[in-house]
Amino acid sequence: MELYHVELLSAALFALGVYGVLARRNAIMILMAVELMLNAVTINAVAYAAFLDPGRLVGQVITVFVITVAAAEVGLAMAIILRLYRVRATANVDEADTMRG
C-alpha cells in the first residue's frame, strides 16, 4: 500500500461524489453524494498525516473536524429539505426552480 494508492482511492471517491451531485435530482441523494466527497477528503487527510506529516497530527485533526461539520451539515440540510417537502410536496431539486434567469 503506497500513498498514491490511497490518493487514487480518494480521488475516485471524490469523482463519484461529484458525479452524484451533478447527476442526481433528489435533494437527499445529492446530500449523500456530498458525503462521499467529504469521505474522500478525510481519506486523503489521514493518508497525508500518516505518510508525510512529521508530526502525524494535522491530517487527523482535519478529519475530526470534517466529520463533525459533515454531521452538522446533514442535520441542517435535512431540516431544510423537509421544509421543501412540506412546501412543495417534493424533494426533487429541479421542481424548485421558480427563480431563474
Binding site: V6, A11, R25, M32, L36, T42, R56, Q60, T90
Partner: protein, 169 residues
C-alpha cells in the same frame, strides 16, 4: 503483496463499488444503505492508515448518526416516489465532468509522487492533547457550528404549517 495491501485492495473495492451504488441506484433507501457500506469501508481504510480512533468516530458518527438522520428523513416524508428516482437530464455530461475531475487528479497523483516516510499514526493521547491545546479555537468554532445546526434544524423543521401568519419573503 503483503496482507496490508490485500486488505487495502478489498476495502478500496468495497468502498468504490458501494460508492457507485450510492450515485446510481434509483431507490433512496438503497442509496442510504450503500452509503453506510461505503462509510464503513472508509473506516477500514483509516484502520490501515493507523488511525483507529478516527475509524471509530467514522463508524459512530457517520454510520450511526448521519445515516440514521437520512433514513429518518425518508420515513418522515413517506414519499412513494423515493423508490424510483431517475437521474437528471445532464447525467451524461456529469459523467464526463466527473471523469475529467478524476483524470486531472489521477494525472497529478501519478505524475508527482511524493516522498513518503514510514507509515505511522499518532497515539490517541497525542491527538487529544493536540486538539485541546493548539486547536482549541477551531474546536470551539466547531461546537458553535453544531449548535447552529441544532437551532436551525429546530426552527426550520419543527414549525408546522398552520401556526404561522402570512408568508414573507
Amino acid at each position: 503483496m503483503d496482507a496490508q495491501a490485500v486488505a487495502f485492495a478489498i476495502v478500496a473495492v468495497v468502498a468504490l463499488v458501494s460508492g457507485v451504488g450510492v450515485v446510481t441506484t434509483r431507490n433512496v433507501a438503497h442509496a442510504a444503505l450503500f452509503l453506510l457500506v461505503s462509510l464503513a469501508s472508509v473506516a477500514g481504510v483509516f484502520i490501515l492508515l493507523v488511525a483507529e480512533f478516527l475509524a471509530l468516530v467514522q463508524v459512530l458518527i457517520y454510520g450511526g448518526a448521519v445515516t440514521i438522520v437520512l433514513l429518518f428523513a425518508l420515513m418522515l416524508t413517506r414519499a412513494e416516489e423515493f423508490s424510483n428516482v431517475r437521474s437528471n437530464p445532464q447525467w451524461a455530461v456529469a459523467a464526463v465532468a466527473a471523469l475529467g475531475v478524476f483524470g486531472a487528479m489521477g494525472a497529478v497523483i501519478l505524475n508527482d509522487r511524493l516522498d513518503t516516510q514510514e507509515l505511522r499514526g499518532p497515539s490517541l493521547q497525542e491527538l487529544g492533547g493536540e486538539l485541546f491545546t493548539n486547536w482549541v479555537v477551531p474546536f470551539e468554532i466547531a461546537s458553535l457550528v453544531l449548535l447552529m445546526a441544532l437551532i436551525g434544524a429546530i426552527i426550520l423543521a419543527r414549525a408546522s404549517d398552520s401556526d404561522e401568519p402570512g408568508s414573507g419573503g
